[in-house]
């Protein structure tokens, strides 16, 4: 089974307070800790489990600048066989459709049976997998939390739906799936694993290598463009309790008692 997993380097929201830059054109990137998009780790783990069962290989691919190489290397340390970086100045400002076009061009250079993406990334859009599938005319399922190969042509897929229920589907391969967190427990990547792949060469493909017309990607090809970042004007917002921890505890217990929170 040849599996492609799409991964993205993102600021780690668990580690960072995200601030808007002074002119609103970007977020403050100075002190940010970056990591692999959380959902993508689950997708790579799932790919590894499939490969270890039925054989084949896993390619991780990312669209981004040179620094995206570090997340490809991390996923290779985790167990992916190969990394490919899709990087070109003309890709900057791509909307979801542009990113899907770029990845599609790479997919068509290979021969994949299965493509996995994370269910969403830092922009919360959850769009590239579904677009890529439609562009390739492959079937798609989103928010996948269970996956089971039936044979080399069919796969059984569980999707997360409302209320904690699960929708089971049977799909033909090749297909594209967006993977939800919780489907597995992604393995730990140690420093030794990272060292082992530190010098592996990661090929970089530019727009010309992929046969992409510059006007079809990047800001030039985007119908959806980010104008600025801002901090939302809150309604009331929470009343923040101030003072020493002891004072806060006093106030909080009083409030909880009043509101029926302590029985």
């Amino acid at each position: 089974m040849e599996i492609l997993v799409c991964v993205k380097r993102v600021p780690d929201t668990a580690e960072n307070e995200i601030e808007v830059s002074r002119d609103g054109s970007d977020i403050e990137r100075g002190d940010l800790v970056y990591s692999v998009n959380e959902w993508d780790n689950y997708a790579v783990e799932e790919a590894i489990r499939i490969r270890d069962k039925v054989g084949g290989s896993i390619t991780v691919v990312s669209v981004g600048g040179g620094e995206a190489e570090e997340v490809l290397r991390r996923e290779m340390a985790m167990g992916a066989d190969k990394g490919i970086l899709l990087s070109d100045d003309s890709f900057a400002g791509s909307d979801g459709m542009g990113i899907a076009r770029i990845v599609k061009a790479e997919v068509e250079k290979g021969k994949y049976d299965l493509i996995l993406t994370g269910a969403q990334a830092d922009d919360g859009a959850g769009q590239v997998g579904g677009m890529l599938a439609a562009m390739l005319d492959w079937p798609y399922a989103s928010l996948v939390n269970h996956l089971e190969l039936l044979d080399d042509k069919r796969i059984k897929v569980g999707r997360e739906i409302a209320g904690g229920n699960q929708e089971m589907n049977e799909m033909d391969l090749p297909c594209v799936l967006s993977i939800q967190t919780g489907i597995n427990e992604p393995r730990y990547v140690g420093i030794r694993g990272i060292r082992k792949v530190a010098s592996v060469e990661i090929p970089v493909r530019k727009a010309a290598d992929l046969g992409l017309a510059p006007e079809s990607v990047g800001a030039a090809g985007a119908k959806v463009k980010r104008l600025d970042y801002f901090r939302p004007e809150l309604g009331e917002g929470a009343e923040m309790l101030e003072g020493s921890t002891e004072e806060k505890l006093e106030k909080l217990v009083e409030l909880l008692k009043t509101k029926g929170g302590i029985k």
Partner: protein, 328 residues
Amino acid sequence: MPQQIFAYIIHRDGKIDDTALELAAAAKKIDPQSSVTALVAGAGEALTAACAQAAASYGSVWKIENDVLAHVNAEVLRGMLVRILPKASIVLIPHEHFGMDLAPGLAVKLDMAYLPDAVGFEEITEGKLKAVREEYSGQVSTHVSCDLSGGAVITIRPGSFAADESRALNGQIVDKSAEAAADGVPGKSRRFIEVVAAEVGDVDITKAEVLVSVGRGIEDQENLEMVNELAAAMGADVACSRPIVDAKWLEKSRQVGTSGKTVKPKVYLALGISGSFQHMGGIKGAPYIVAVNKNPKAPIFQVADVGLIEDILEFIPALTEKIKEVKG
């Protein structure tokens, strides 16, 4: 000529979802004059009932009936919608489990712009819609411009537009079933099997009056013990956010959110929970929300009644002690 606007209606057991009236409100923001068409797909009596409800709030209803849609499969429905939707129209879809499955591919097949997870619309200038989105788990907002000229598929975050409750319309129901299935049923490469119902847990958090809910900030499974102790002292039940279930530290039946349980407590104490919209979507009935989080930018502070910036690992045992002291 103004662009035609469509809204996809989610319905369950013959009842339209809350998002149906929210999309009606969102459509009015795009064009107050436009007559908006509801798209309702399904089969049998449930579909008939859903169409009738949608007709009260929409100028017209396009009914798409097919046995294969008794449980709506996004791949099948997408193929049908591509056959019936006019070029360059605007299609609104709720940004939830089904909408996320349908919308991105629909935009590709209709060759339209795709604007995901909009939480607000500001204005339209020269065919470009200025909309509001959120990024980084709701820590910052962005304005985006979406080119509507060639049509657009837009998903709307549930709960972000106030429902249009007027029900002032009496839309005509138009049967589009034949046109939708004109070349047979599409999307055969993905076949629906069944819905597996959520497991029933040992505690029913949907009935709890007081919930102590814990999130990623608890850091380690062993630390859940202090949460249990706090809940015991308060006489509360323990609930959690998604990462705790993903890590398998608590059972799925304790998860609050759109993918978990919908709860209606009087008091909701959120510990180390950032407050994603998926999580907050599972809290109804306007409880008194107390949020404790060490990140002052956590979006939960926007919706909580009271907030405390504290490290929960130190704060929880202190709070338990204090409550025990007060109760004597």
